[in-house]
């Protein structure tokens, strides 16, 4: 179905280069566009590093890594890049005006039925952007880093066609991703809503002094962390029993944090300026720690976990 499809990625930044690599790894001719040659050169390096990581972890062969990199073209010429594209993924700066003007430019030169996808995480692209044939406009929100994390959220706008949604789902599945569909623009889509609800309660419990942040993390890592690789929180309730679930939920829900602003640990650490690895200190102290190494190890662990999850599915289905 996707034979000879061409992909254009607009924005060669942290997300853009990585999305481009994903497409290229699966055989697509991919063009990455940015405004400066410097940005493109940097993207090329990042792509090489990412491909190397996958190859070292034996996710792909060295040959595949090299072939993928050859499939990617880097250019400042947006019009040329989109003129033949079947899918155009925008991954530029999170600013409404910037996105509005980028899509206007894209629409001038792209095929009238090219799927237009925005990687926005917070903007209602359907209200910001004006394109002909809006049935093909979607939010396609990748997780960080796109070449590793399987989840991609597809958010529907009021005019999107089922065909666009289905095509995107098929395409993402073809890339080995796990698409999740949100039926309208809502703040946080799916992942950030669940993630921030959890974050709010965690900051609250620790902020109240009821448990240390480390123990809150330990509690979650050693219960949900063990199960969630193979069983989601809702399916788990089929095993716990929905009667038990209703009872526990009803008991606890009235006591949960409802703050509409950041609380507890988040406020404390931000006020202190302990912002995390970028300031050398967050919950943990990173003095003398090789951050680049730590970041690399995190990605390696995720790749290991992906293997584990795949194996669990294969061995026990």
């Amino acid at each position: 179905m996707f034979e000879n499809w061409k992909i254009a990625i607009i924005g060669a930044g942290v997300q853009g280069h990585s999305i481009g690599l994903e497409y290229a790894l699966h055989g697509f001719d991919t063009t990455i566009v940015d405004m400066t040659q410097a940005a493109l050169d940097n993207a090329r390096k990042l792509v090489a590093t990412a491909a190397d990581t996958l190859s070292l972890m034996e996710e792909i062969t060295q040959e595949t890594a090299e072939a993928a990199q050859k499939r990617i073209t880097y250019t400042t010429d947006l019009a040329a890049a989109v003129s033949q594209a079947n899918v155009i993924q925008e991954a530029v700066f999170e600013n409404a005006d910037v996105k509005k003007s980028i899509f206007a430019e894209i629409a001038k030169s792209c095929p009238p039925d090219a799927i237009l996808a925005s990687n926005t995480s917070t903007l209602n692209i359907f209200e910001i952007v004006d394109v002909p044939n809006p049935g093909r406009l979607a939010i396609v929100h990748w997780c960080t880093p796109p070449y590793i994390m399987p989840l991609v959220e597809i958010v529907r706008g009021p005019q999107i066609t089922d065909e666009t949604v289905n095509t995107l789902k098929e395409l993402l599945l073809y890339l080995g991703k796990k698409p999740a569909v949100v039926n309208q623009v809502i703040p946080g889509f799916i992942l950030n809503r669940i993630g921030l609800a959890i974050f709010r309660e965690a900051c609250y419990i620790a902020g109240q002094g009821w448990a240390t942040p480390e123990d809150v993390d330990a509690a979650l890592k050693n219960t949900y962390g063990i199960r969630w690789p193979f069983e989601g929180p809702l399916e788990l309730r089929d095993y716990i029993g929905w009667d038990v679930s209703l009872s526990v939920g009803s008991f606890v829900i009235p006591h949960l944090c409802n703050s509409t602003k950041a609380v507890g640990t988040a406020v404390e650490l931000t006020q202190k300026g302990w912002l995390g690895t970028k300031t050398g200190r967050g919950l943990k102290d990173y003095t003398g720690v090789d951050i680049a190494k730590v970041l690399k190890e995190r990605n390696t662990k995720i790749l290991k976990m992906k293997k584990v999850a795949r194996q669990l599915n294969e061995d026990f289905s």
Partner: protein
């Protein structure tokens, strides 16, 4: 320090049996008490099935079956066994009067420095029971299955001493458990609060028609599910940036579900009677499935994940 310690498990149900197994496997002389001695055969079966499972995946060696069983005895005579206990784990059913009664007995029969723990998941034991020397009373909340799940929530009461907490943590860690301390009784302790967080937000999103339950589970499994085994949600923010997290919080919290209603989906499932595997239908249909196999597969997956967690 714990060389000649005797552990008394009160309540020979599913949890009690497996908690006893955990202590027994780790070299503690363990007595299982139940008012009803007919429970003991079932408890022994649970213990032996669990031991065999652990051997089958290489968690323990075959000889451990015999040595563990040797450490575990059963008694229906509380007057005889309670005076011997250094540490008690109360694991009877979740009823305030029953717990009040049993702790009154334990208070009378056990030495004054015996550590008294309750495996309650929801009751405020410190309000419910009265014991002399309440500095030795606390909650140790185990997770199912207790011989496998590493986490134990240790909940302090207003009078619980630092010494008691330290001792209990030491015992648990020697058995390879991971204690998380909660400094006072709060509803849900830690883990069940998050169960409520997810129920509330997921329930709201599904009720609003924004997405399917499958896609919520998929989102979680394919992100947190890959990360939480080695990096918790708070520690992750060191990498995301606490400033960014604060901005995101300030922008988004107001849109989350902030009411106290029970989860609409859970209400619906209970009304329909589709409670899950125990009724053959839940979110999924189990009527044509081999439920025993599904359960044993899940156990095997957990065992493998525990190994992975240790290695990561």
């Amino acid at each position: 320090m714990f060389k000649n310690w005797k552990i008394l498990i009160v309540g020979a149900g599913t949890m009690g049996a497996s908690i006893a197994l955990t202590y027994g496997m780790n070299g503690f002389e363990t007595i299982v008490y139940d008012i009803n001695d007919k429970q003991f055969d079932k408890a022994k079966e649970i213990i032996n099935v669990n031991l065999k499972t652990l051997v089958s995946v290489g968690e323990i060696t075959e000889d451990k079956i015999e040595t563990s069983n040797k450490m575990i005895s059963f008694s229906a005579d509380l007057e005889e066994v309670a005076p011997q206990a250094n540490l008690v784990v109360e694991s009877i059913f979740e009823n305030a009067s029953a717990k009040r009664e049993i702790f009154a007995k334990l208070d009378r029969l056990c030495p004054s420095d015996t550590i008294l723990t309750s495996n309650t998941s929801a009751l405020n034991i410190f309000d419910i029971v009265q014991v002399s020397n309440p500095e030795r009373l606390l909650i140790t909340h185990w997770f199912n299955p207790p011989h496998m799940m590493p986490l134990i929530e240790v909940v302090r009461g207003p009078k619980t001493s630092d010494q008691t907490v330290a001792t209990v943590k030491e015992v648990l860690m020697r058995m390879g458990k991971i204690p998380a301390v909660i400094n006072q009784y709060i509803p849900g302790f830690i883990v069940n609060r998050f169960s409520g967080v997810i129920a509330r937000e997921a329930g709201y999103m599904i009720d609003q028609g924004w997405c399917t339950w499958e896609d919520i589970d998929s989102a979680v499994v394919n992100t947190f599910g890959l990360r939480w085994v080695f990096e918790g949600p708070l520690e992750s923010r060191d990498f995301i940036g606490w400033d960014i997290s604060t901005i995101n919080s300030d922008n988004l919290f107001q849109y989350l579900c902030n009411n106290s209603d029970p989860m609409p989906l859970a209400v619906e499932m209970v009304e329909k009677g589709t409670l899950g595997i125990k009724t053959g239908q839940g979110l999924k249909d189990y009527r044509d499935k081999d439920i025993k196999k599904l359960q044993s597969d899940r156990t095997m997956k957990i065992l493998r994940m525990l190994k992975v967690a240790r290695e990561l």
